[in-house]
Amino acid sequence: MKATEETPTGENNYLTKHTLRSWLLTTDHKRIGVLYLLTILVFFVIGAFAAALVRLDLVTPRGDLLSSEMYNRMFTLHGVIMVWFFLIPSIPAVMGNFVLPLMVGARDVAFPRLNLLSWYLFITGGVVALYAILEGGVDTGWTFYTPYSTTYANPQVVTMVAGVFIAGFSSILTGLNLIITTHKLRAPGLTWFRLPLFVWTLYATSLILVLATPVLAMVLFLIAMERFWGIGIFDPAQGGDPVLFQHLFWFYSPPAVYIMILPGMGVVSEVITCFARKKLFGYPFVAGASVAIAVFGFLVWGHHMFVSGQSIYSGFMFSILSYLVAIPSAIKVFNWTATLYKGSISFDTPMLYALGFLGLFTAGGLTGLVLAATAVDVHVTDTYFIVAHFHYIMVGGMVLAFMSGLHFWWPKITGRMYPELMGRLAAVVAFIGFNLTFFPQFVMGYLGMPRRYHTYPDEFQFYHILSTAGASILGVGYLLPLVYLLWSLKRGARAPANPWHASGLEWTVPSPPPTHNFERIPDGSGKVYDYPSPAAPPPID
């Protein structure tokens, strides 16, 4: 990334200086975004490697590739790395950092030094977590259920938990920065309802980051305490209560799911409006739905615990709340669909990913209705049905949204265009591979295949083979962008300031942007998503 040339105009941009020191001590939000991008890509590769081993191992019912210990460590590694070191920081810390100040017309985030600190905390946490793997590995699953994690699992749990704990503080700092930046650093005239949806969703995400992550920190702290001193808060033999852990952990986790998906919704809102050349349909409803999701997300934790022994009345309450939290998501999907109506739609790579997101997120969300139905959940919880459901949201939703945003802002970040044809190809390959991987898991789950099983009865093999085949295709879909995006750094065409003719302040500055973003703080009083009426002749490309 460091190898950059000057822009044609010869003026300095944020990439011009390339000493190592200038990168490692930078307080520039754009550089920190790029640092985050590189870091999470490393973690993504590690997490994907673990997933690949798991899927390969599951080709045979006896699990011939790995031992049970190794299998358990691999799915734990996959979960921990993907959730805390890829999904949660992916869009907020990479694109939020890079794009949000540009979008609101600011020169930087509110607290640039805290921002750099957040990146250092993140890699420290990551290194500690990886050290736990080298040290011997952790096999608790990413949920760290007690009393298994506190009494029975190997002691590396503490190292792993410490890594996640540290990374949690980096999330809090990112969230804090984004909230204050949105509140206090908006350009004059840029009122709340003139903000792009991406800013709204990042704002909602940051609220959750700031409010939910401390709860996780406390839970992890308790695990470490129990591990070190065996004090027994989760240990029934000492009068403790293992289910207390689940209440605390899941209080954090459903909001965490929305940390992962909300920014994706923001990206999709930007991309769909740009490539349909229309104002977002029902802007206030979509913005309001984002905040509603953030609030309701805190009230549904019990839907993970329908079979854990909580009373049926808690079950009813969490069931109905889970149904209610689905409504704002439905509102968003319908509004995106309506945005396409009478647009002038082109199918560039970001748009293909965004359309893929729409389909897969809808499917994932609707299967959530199945899980919220207590009676059916009893049967399908802890089976592959759950696995498929959350991968539809996390991978089908979030990862596709991430890819969409990455392609959308790639010219802005690097000053280069990626090869369009390759981009479209990769998007289609990833979509096909994804569905082949995870759709069979729905069927398998309803048949009763439990999750986290190293070996399994023969009748499930057919579906496992399908799933692994799909995963290989999905892997190709991920490798392609890695190759052509790297290629584009050197060989890609120079990007103009606004290659997509998109609206928004980030497109008014050159690509890549100058170090201080704006020479003069821009006027923010223009309309949001101010695309010329599609009824007019389309712009010439």
Binding site: I180, A217, I231, D241
Partner: protein, 240 residues
């Protein structure tokens, strides 16, 4: 947030150096203050998790909290409540003095606040040693003394190994140590901050008014947490 300043301010620096990404000093100050509020919100949730644990324990094991709560040193707890509330008052006075530009008086007020924080910590430490001495440190349960109640031995039940049998009271003492321990940590951090600020405020222009205000916010928050901890932990077992 509030812009009205009382009296002359020449002896306390009114604003921070302006960083290049802010347009005005007001904007920068507002950002710092809002940042402190958001930080405090994360703190609320950090404690919130353990309060949720408390609620869960109290709901699931009725009577346990009330019973175990009677073993705490309520007198020391009450004194500490007084100490902390008074310190908050002095802190508020310190901020007011700083706003009026009386930097030496403000420095003194902050120093006194820090000192009261130290007093709080000393009392807390004494209390810990007493509670631990009575054998209530979870995980190291030495001997649970029976409560004097008609019917006698409450905790005294012996298991086959001869040691005391832990009941769900364990959970209460767990909560007690984690909650008050984390709170004490926050008090300690506050003491260091206040002492540092008091030191800087000796000189005119030593530190910006906004920093004093934000530290004040933090200290009031720490105080407020205690206002919740005290009744939940110490008073739960007492009826008027």
């Amino acid at each position: 947030m509030d812009d009205e300043r009382i009296g002359p301010t020449k002896n306390v620096r009114e604003t921070e150096r302006l960083h290049s990404h802010f347009v005005t000093r007001e904007q920068q100050e507002d950002a710092a203050t809002l940042g402190m509020w958001v930080f405090l919100a994360t703190e609320v949730l950090f404690f919130g998790a353990i309060f949720m644990g408390y609620t869960y324990v109290r709901w699931s094991y009725p009577g346990v909290v009330e019973e175990a709560s009677r073993h705490l040193e309520i007198v020391l707890g009450s004194i500490n409540t007084g100490v902390l509330l008074t310190s908050s008052f002095i802190m508020a006075a310190g901020v007011l003095l700083a706003e009026q530009g009386r930097h030496r008086a403000a420095a003194l007020a902050l120093a006194v606040t820090a000192l009261m924080g130290v007093v709080f910590l000393v009392i807390k430490g004494t209390e810990y040693s007493m509670v631990i001495g009575e054998g209530y440190l979870p995980g190291f349960t030495a001997q649970l003394e029976p409560v004097s109640r008609p019917g006698g031995g409450y905790y005294g039940a012996l298991s086959e190994g001869g040691g005391p049998v832990p009941g769900h009271e364990e959970l209460f003492f767990w909560l007690y140590f984690v909650m008050t321990g984390l709170h004490a940590l926050h008090v300690a951090i506050g003491v260091i901050l206040l002492a540092g600020l008091a030191w800087l405020l000796r000189k005119p222009q030593g530190i910006s008014l906004n920093t004093v205000r934000n530290t004040g916010l933090y200290w009031h928050f720490v105080d407020l947490v205690w206002v919740f901890l005290f009744p939940l932990l110490y008073l739960a077992g007492h009826r008027l």
